[in-house]
Amino acid sequence: MSRWWVSLGLAVAVAFPARAALDAAVVTRLATGDGDEKVAAIAQLIAGGDPRAVPVLQALADGEMSVAGGRVLLVKGEEGLDAVTGEKVSPVPSPRDDVVANNRLRREIESALAALKLLSPDRDARLAAAKELAGGANEAMLPLLKKAVGNETDGTIKPMLELTVAGLELKSADKAQRLAAIRTLAASANPNTRMLLSPLVEKGKDGAFLEKDEDVRVAAQSSLASVEGRLAWSQRAGLAFSGVSLGSILLLAALGLAITYGLMGVINMAHGELIMIGAYTTYVVQNLFRAHLPGAFDWYLAAALPAAFAASALVGMALERTVIRWLYGRPLETLLATWGLSLILIQAVRTLFGAQNVQVENPAFMSGGVEILAGIVLPWSRIVIIGFAIAVLAGMAVLLTRTRLGLFVRAVTQNRAMAACVGVRTARIDTWAFGLGSGIAGLAGCALSQIGNVGPDLGQSYIVDSFMVVVLGGVGQLAGTVYAALGLGILNKVLESWAGAVLAKIAILVVIILFIQKRPQGLFALKGRVID
């Protein structure tokens, strides 16, 4: 067995030696046949068990196969190989017709390759193969799967394979085998199981059960019930997670505003644009990393975070110095002036970077997700953002309660005149505090660039939500902002799963209006300069 795998490894590594060739007719059919012929050719290549078929199939799935002058070629970059003999072809002939693999072929190839990998000595490869096959095994693989179950010793992989085998044995002719398979499937938490079991309990168009055998039907019914019970729990868990995730995003977007509006009382309509500047800074840092440090690309966020904070903070401080400080105590003028500023910032970015959205790529560790329960995948990007929101919140709490700057900010907020009397330079504190709020908006932009669009209008979509959170939470209170963000996030998701996204949005706004009518000061009472 192991020798077989060594030879496969070698074949992949040295691009298969030019000894005996694959069946030319089959390869040609694979490249030029219609959909059905291609599927048949894949099955033939796999059934032949020839390890040299693996790179050929992989190339087809990756779109690296082409045909020139009746010859099937695998072309990767500048290098070309003959698919049948494995010989190097140079120069690569041109023009070539690319062989197009569609989803159907890719699915066939993926499960075929997975079946071959089931016997791999590498545990991770086997696990990946077992996962792949959980959704896409076919009857032809049954003997191979059974063999793999027999050989398997790993506690995670074996049950997965057993479930896959059971799923295939459902269609068997032997009643005892079917019943056993149904009982095995009761332990499954895979959504696909429901797809397998539900036809057994369904009624046809004429009202009769599709499944004639009563025993099978009853067993399927009870297995299905236990699978569905398990799935319902994982759905609830998924819903709770998405609520918390939305809450963390609202929190990030609103935290900066909680300082500039909540503590300082500036109705800052340009808050969204400060978020946008943070996102664009992330984009610029990402491009710098790609151009100069491609090896460390995955770590660009570490550099982007301080850069985004600094960029937004500087812009915020400049705005405060030049415009906003002259308007303290005049909320209406502040509102209009900051709104104008937001339009200027949007147009500036549009002129600099173009009106189209720009591409911010997730670092590898933030792509994909972790499967906590079957069917519930928690995306890494969202987990990281929840953690990040907590970190920013903690950092801000420390800054406000434990540092000299925080002390001054609170003092100026509570009583400006008294603070000035004891020697606090209130004007400078205003600038610093506004810079801090803006910088946090920049951090939010950096996080938002990982899950959404980065474009000149980015800020516009968050400004309303941010104000909603701060007002609902109670102006002047950080704790209120946290509760409001989480509450809105979870409420929104629960309503969305129940009534759809459009109605949920309306319902949330109605709830907020009613709440503010009842309790204009928000969740927590307001203290601070806004009163005067």
Binding site: G35, D36, G63, D98, V100, A101, N102, N103, R104, R106, R107, E110, G135, G136, P191, N192, R194, M195, S198, P199, E202, L231, Q235, G238, L239, S242, S245, L246, I249, F353, G354, A355, Q356, N357, V358, Q359, E361, N362, S367, G368, G369, G375, V377, P379, W380, S381, R382, I451, G452, N453, V454, G455, D457, S461, K493, E496, S497, G500, A501, V502
Partner: protein, 363 residues
């Protein structure tokens, strides 16, 4: 004709009332012979009365929901039977995965609502049960698709092969596809076919998790034929010369661009044939115009219904943001602006009412 053509460009900033105002300004003040433009159906609906009142000429280059015919408008984008219906037929075919259950997902406005109404009727005519169709809408600018993807997953696990038909508009597509990739819903399991996602929309997207998802259009930049080579080369040269942000480094062409390109050339041919810029004479001359389009086929303006005969392509997203054409119609397809899947349409005539006065009570 030798007449010099001058272009006036106006930007109504996606502000719908402004569209009507600017259209009026173009026709009455700038005295333009023809207008090429509008994007969303709402913008077209707002300028329509202006063009009809002042007898102007509009070329509309975007795929739309049909259910409209005006003497003053030539529609060079796709009608539902030139995009939506072939796409769903492909999904139901063996090569498309043989889908039996459908999620119709869209942004909440007129194009997705009407398209989904047509698709629902079409699916029913193909024997798909009501319970096997899920229709979902999101508000404009929706950016959190977690619950919707969870719903799709649940729906897909309830039996039978599922496919998603997306009429999500514009920017919302990025968070949608990102979430799709992160939650591990692969194109091989649940394919998503989109009608508003093309080369330009994928520019701002990390396309790796999208590979294999589908789009249906009448043109893809990746098509290989001489007229497309010429088209893309010309565009690249223009973008470079005019220093267009984004396009100067990475010139992209897409379906609405091709539709506009065809429209401009056909209008030129019609003017030459009519030997006049007069609206009515040009409209008469437009009928039956042909143009060797970048799609590789000869597009023809229908003699009567003001729509183009165009081929339909289905493409799968590749890692570089381009599309692999996996299916195409054998030749150009005639547009059916009045979809046969909407009740009452069978009585409507496949040509605009020519008598101007009688045009008012159109529907």
């Amino acid at each position: 004709m030798g007449a010099k053509i001058e272009a006036s460009v106006v930007d109504p900033a996606s502000n719908w009332p402004l569209f009507a105002e600017k259209a009026r300004q173009l026709i009455t003040q700038d005295k333009v012979a023809v207008v090429f433009g509008c994007w969303t159906s709402v913008s077209r609906k707002s300028v329509l009365p202006v063009f009809e009142e002042l007898n102007g000429l509009l070329f509309y280059p975007v795929q739309y929901e049909g259910e409209e015919l005006s003497k003053n408008v030539f529609y060079t984008g796709a009608a539902p039977n030139q995009q939506a219906i072939p796409a769903v037929e492909y999904l139901m075919s063996k090569d498309g995965g043989g889908a039996k259950r459908f999620v119709l997902l869209g942004t909440d406005y007129v194009y997705p609502r009407t398209t989904n109404k047509i698709l629902r009727a079409f699916l029913k005519s193909k024997g798909v049960a009501e319970a096997d169709i899920m229709e979902e809408y999101t508000p404009f600018g929706h950016s959190d698709y977690q619950t919707i993807i969870a719903k799709i997953k649940k729906f897909a696990s309830e039996g039978k092969k599922t496919a998603v038909v997306s009429t999500i508009n514009g920017d919302s597509n990025v968070p949608f596809y990102k979430e799709l990739g992160n939650q591990g819903l692969k194109a091989t399991d649940v394919p998503v076919v989109a009608f508003s996602v093309g080369e330009e929309e994928l520019r701002g997207v990390d396309t790796k998790p999208l590979v294999g998802h589908l789009a249906a259009w009448n043109y893809f930049m990746s098509l290989k034929n001489p007229s497309n080579d010429e088209f893309t080369k010309k565009w690249a040269a223009y973008a470079k010369a005019k220093n267009l942000a984004g396009h100067k480094d990475k010139p992209l062409t897409n379906d609405p661009m091709e539709a506009t390109y065809i429209g401009v050339y056909m209008w030129k041919q019609a003017v030459e044939k009519a030997k006049s810029f007069d609206t009515d004479k040009v409209i008469a001359a437009m009928a039956g115009q042909t143009f060797k389009a970048p799609s590789g086929f000869t597009a023809k303006m229908d003699e009567k219904n003001h729509h183009l005969h165009k081929p339909v392509f289905i493409g799968e997203v590749k890692a570089d943001g381009q599309f692999n054409v996996v299916w195409k119609t054998p030749g150009p397809v005639k547009a059916k602006p009045w979809s046969p899947y909407i009740p009452g349409n069978d009585k409507k005539k496949d040509e605009p009412e020519m008598a101007k006065k009688a045009a008012a009570p159109k529907k």
